[in-house]
Amino acid sequence: MPIRRLLRHRLFVTGLSLFLLVVVAAIAAEWIASHNPTRMNMRLRFTAPGDPRFLLGTDAFGRDILARLAHGAQVSLRIGVMVVVFTGVFGTLFGALSGYFRRLDNPIMRVMDAFMAFPAIMLAIAIAAALGPSELNVVIALAAVYTPRTARIVRASALVVREAEFVQAARVAGAGDTRILLGHVLPNSLAPLIVQLTFIFAYSVLAEAVLSFLGVGPAPPTPTWGNMIADGRNFIREAPWITLMPGIAISITVLGLNLLGDGLRDVLDPRMKVTSS
């Protein structure tokens, strides 16, 4: 089982630690942050970090940054997980069908290409804005943007499997397409798929931050890392921590995920070239 090798891989372990740090912070949001993230207190606005009452300070409305950060983590991680699930399911579906059935290949792939032709953030913003500000709509938008990338990866595996000798043998022995798809194509796609989905999680966190920053993400007063950065932008001189903290949070999460992805790739499929889309 590659799990043991994974645990010995330094990058993987570092990445996992960073990521779990964020996950724990998100899950334990209610406990570590004693304050309500949306409660405003104008008398205590712009408190600097290090204050015993507000460990990471407060923002322009006197809201506790730490609490907002922890709740923002919940949002980002929820969105990330949902995007990964959607992308995984639909990407595998389209990719497997496209790679395995020759006649479906061209139509499916051209549609995927069309979606990939738009710069990712632009398309995501357009879809999210059209659908309206909510977590689910951000997920839908990002899933639409990232599914083609996953489909490509699965398709590549499916193509290889389709031509493999043991598959020809299986077909001669009477195995149907469904059996081959489930029994051979899917297991072979698993390794590159897992690696790709890890990176997609990372892109989601970054993309969601941009969407929130531009006002197209989950609506206020929900704290998201993106809108925290936007909030703090006007007070960058007096209270730089308002913008600084969420950025650090995003960086830690994405760094952790990238290291996880690198580690997984090294162990599961060292021949895989470093691709980002």
Binding site: R110, V111, D113, A114, F115, M116, A117, F118, P119, A120, I121, M122, L123, I125, A126, I127, A129, A130, L131, G132, A202, L206, A209, V210, F213, L214, G215, V216, G226, I229, R233, I236, R237, P240, T243, L244, P246, G247, I250, S251, V254, L255, N258, L259, K273, V274, T275, S276, S277
Partner: protein, 315 residues
Amino acid sequence: MTRYIIHRLASAVLVVFLVTIISFSVMSLVPGDPASVVAGANATPDEIEAIRVQLGLHLPYHVRLVDWVLGLFQGDLGRSILLQRSVAEAVAERLPVTIALSIYAMTLTLALGVSLGVLAAVRQNSWVDQLCMTVALLGVSLPNVWLAILFVMFFSVYLGWFPTGGYVPFEQDAFRALVALTLPAIALALTQIGLLARMARSSMLEVLRQDYVQTARAKGLPRWSVVGKHALKNVMIPLVTVFGIILSLSLSGTVVIETVFSLPGMGRLIVNAIQRRDYPVIQGGLLLTASALVMVNLAVDLLYAWLDPRVRYAD
């Protein structure tokens, strides 16, 4: 090779067709009535109806789509609801800014990305390698919106080396134009540099393992020739295909960078249009951007086919 060209051209045409449909249809995703959304919360039913007619929303989807496409063939991208000018004019004003920014960022990306990657590969597992790859990792992990804001705070506000934003046309003052674009270009390029460095390193490592590299050494060629001539050419050719991905990321990045640095470019045009429901601009902007990327990818693939002798002289 000719078969390949024809195949790629046909694909590109089909993809542009699909892109057109998607660009048009994105706005149909709006739940509820787009006309009232555009009109605003305080509009009267008459005003909403007027807007509906103005946008042609009273016509069915396929009629509107065909009208729009026919207009495209005549060069008519529609008229902006909010900007008091045609979409084509708005784009023409903004395009030079984004192009200037993109070229500046691309140059940085190609120069630094390839250098870092190749250097790291040639000195694999040394401290040089670790350093280059750490920089690359940070490049792809740190959110560029945040970095851009920090840059402004540190380099513009605190140090005063650069302006905090705004665009200076090159015709006016080339030097100040470059200075104004420097911070945005760096902020924009960081993610791409990271990505390219990682890919270049991985590609170079793969090539250095090849048998023909051993042959080159066995011939007594000096190290600079083995790496710089024999290995590098094999690395650069496939790396060309990455250019399209890099450009796409760059255009995504302009959305944020132009906003933070107040640059009147395409990215900001499209984002503002999306935020304010300016449908014609959204449709036109998305279509142009995506089509441009399809063309660039096509050009890049053809370039690759020409550069790689195995494809160019395929039997």
